[in-house]
């Protein structure tokens, strides 16, 4: 890989040992990819938390401080280094807990202490503590063509496809290295030719709710895996929440990081533009039968209709989604055998507080939580066995991670389950 003068200087240690290790990682990573060079980025999103039980145990065993944790887990450096301030605009993604709900999430005081120390450390480095999987909901909205280095598969697919920004799915170590250097391998979705469509998806039915968009994403992701699907035949322009759920699902059943919707997304004004004159590898039909198949695949884990946990906010809910939930909840109460937890970014929660939505949710017996989710934080209500979710992504991960059942359905079906303690959802 060819390095520019400033990159070589960092690799030679001219900017200290931490940036040297960061550049060394980027070179190893770039060469593994087969990248020709690095590119400048001024927009990095990553996760660095030290609250995960394995990381905590590792830190304890090695008597390591947070610098050492960052060195190992964010720079792949066994040597503990003093970590300098970040060089470029850097944001923290979701964390492992919501300390404001320590009681509900059964958080150990020691874990909360490590969380607080981590936050203080990251803010000293200059990292924006957005603490969400949806930075694009709280002010980090990249511009078309902007070279980014983001983690979080659901956010990567959103900014590539909906905003026209350019990022690959970075990992914890490459995001950490990018924060310290302002560099990332120039590979994959940073280049024009890799952003073109590969598979044509002929959508023959109307796709309406966020759950519907999740089903479409789950179906398409499983077929195209890491390729670039092009949706044709979408008659109604979807909103932010729908595309958020579509992308999250497609990057869970598969590894989709980029898609096009003809007439909707910025690099697909026409079908021709979406494929850029390239070959259509395969054409996929999406009709009623395919929608049903996706529904059955998402709903493979649940058999027990007594629901004791309803989890909403994967990816983190927008204010519009919280408003919708409040309309469904008003006049009802969460069933005594059930818990309702809704996850959103802290900044959106502040708006929900101001709008009176937090009060509506809490008076109904639910909680509006921030910073994490049940899969990332491994936090569920005590004794939860059967969950209901409106996110295909969460339905995919939660049962595998927490060993509980999960029903998938619409937001309205989930709220009904929360208020009755029973799952009565079906594909309508």
């Amino acid at each position: 890989m060819k390095l520019a003068a400033d990159e070589q200087a960092m690799l030679d240690g001219k900017e200290g040992p931490a940036r040297q290790k960061a550049m060394d990682l980027l070179v190893r990573y770039g060469e593994a990819l087969g990248a020709a060079r690095l590119i400048d980025t001024n927009n990095v999103c990553g996760t660095m938390g030290a609250t995960m039980p394995f990381v905590r145990a590792w830190a304890e065993k090695h008597g390591a401080g947070i610098d050492a944790v960052f060195s190992e887990f964010s720079l792949d450096s066994a040597e503990a280094l003093e970590i300098p301030k970040v060089k470029v605009f850097s944001c923290h993604l979701q964390q492992g807990m919501d300390p404001a709900h320590a009681e509900q999430q059964a958080l150990a005081p020691e874990a909360v202490k490590i969380y607080r120390e981590g936050e203080a450390f990251f803010s000293r480095l200059g990292v924006q503590l957005m603490n969400t999987c949806t930075p694009y909901l709280v002010g980090n909205v990249p511009v078309k063509g902007e070279h980014c280095a983001w983690m979080e598969s659901s956010a990567v697919i959103y900014i590539n496809s909906v905003l026209g920004a350019r990022t690959n799915a970075e990992g914890r170590e490459s995001a950490g290295a990018a924060m310290l250097t302002g560099k990332i391998p120039y590979w994959g979705y940073h280049l024009d030719e890799n952003r073109l469509g590969s598979h044509l998806v002929e959508v023959e039915i109307d796709v309406r709710s966020t759950a519907d968009w999740g089903l479409l994403g789950y179906y398409v992701g499983e077929i195209v895996q890491e390729r670039v699907p092009v949706l044709n035949g979408i008659r109604q322009v979807p909103n932010l929440a729908r595309l958020k759920h579509f992308g999250a699902a497609a990057s869970s059943s598969g590894g989709v990081e980029m898609y096009h919707i003809v007439g909707v997304t910025p690099e697909a004004r026409t079908l021709e533009e979406a494929f850029g004159g390239g070959r259509v590898r395969a054409t996929i039909k999406y009709g009623e039968a395919e929608r049903r198949l996706a529904y059955e695949r998402v709903n493979t884990t649940a058999t027990d209709r007594a629901v004791d946990y309803v989890m909403l906010g994967c990816p983190h809910y927008s204010i519009e989604q919280i408003w919708e939930v409040c309309q469904l909840l008003e006049g009802h109460r969460v069933h005594e055998n059930c818990s309702l937890w809704i996850f959103t970014p802290k900044l959106v929660r502040d708006l929900a507080d101001r709008n009176g939505y937090t009060k509506i949710i809490e008076e109904a017996g639910g909680y509006l939580m921030t910073d994490t989710c049940s899969s990332v934080g491994r936090v569920v209500p005590k004794g939860a066995r059967v969950a209901a979710v409106d996110s295909a992504k969460q339905a995919h991960y939660l049962p595998a991670i927490m060993g509980i059942q999960a029903w998938f359905g619409t937001t309205a079906e989930c709220i009904e389950a929360a208020t009755t303690g029973r799952w009565s959802g079906e594909l309508r």
């Binding site: 593994a32 990819l33 990992g171 914890r172 170590e173 895996q225 890491e226 590894g255 995919h396 595998a400």
Partner: protein, 139 residues
């Protein structure tokens, strides 16, 4: 002895050998495996319940969360990483994952390793030279 040789491109250098664990399903990192044991946990995965600890992992590629590398990173620190990784589809998840696993890794093969290698075969990986030597499990 019946051995087969594959050639490919080095992703991460080094030499290792071990028993093959082969899957045609792509692998999810975060939420797809337990990094403390190396066991696949994804609900509908064909390797569900099996660990890649010490195995030469042969698979099409990566999918799912961007927490892919961090899970393999933890698996290495927990002592349960694969001995080597052989795969077909290059993505940032798998490249970074292979780098932080510190295990030899190869891609871009002259023949599809999924067609040649079966679970239980003995596989020697020389990633520095991009050479894989397969001894078929005695039948």
């Amino acid at each position: 002895m019946n051995t087969i040789v594959l050639r490919g491109r080095k992703v991460v250098g080094g030499c290792a050998e071990g028993e093959a664990l082969v899957t045609r399903d792509r692998i999810s990192g975060w939420g797809g495996l337990d990094p403390r044991t190396g066991t696949i946990i994804e609900t509908r995965h064909e390797l569900r319940g099996q660990s890649f600890k010490g195995k030469v992992l042969v698979f099409p590629g990566a999918k799912g969360s961007s927490g892919w590398s961090s899970q393999f990173h933890v698996a290495r620190l927990a002592g349960v990483a694969p001995a080597a990784m052989l795969f077909n589809e290059m993505t940032t998840k798998i490249a970074l994952g292979a780098v932080v696993t510190h295990a030899p890794a190869i891609t871009d093969f002259d023949q599809d390793p999924l067609d040649v290698i079966e679970t239980g075969d003995w596989v020697r990986v020389d990633a520095d030279n991009g050479v894989v030597e397969i001894t078929k499990r005695s039948t």
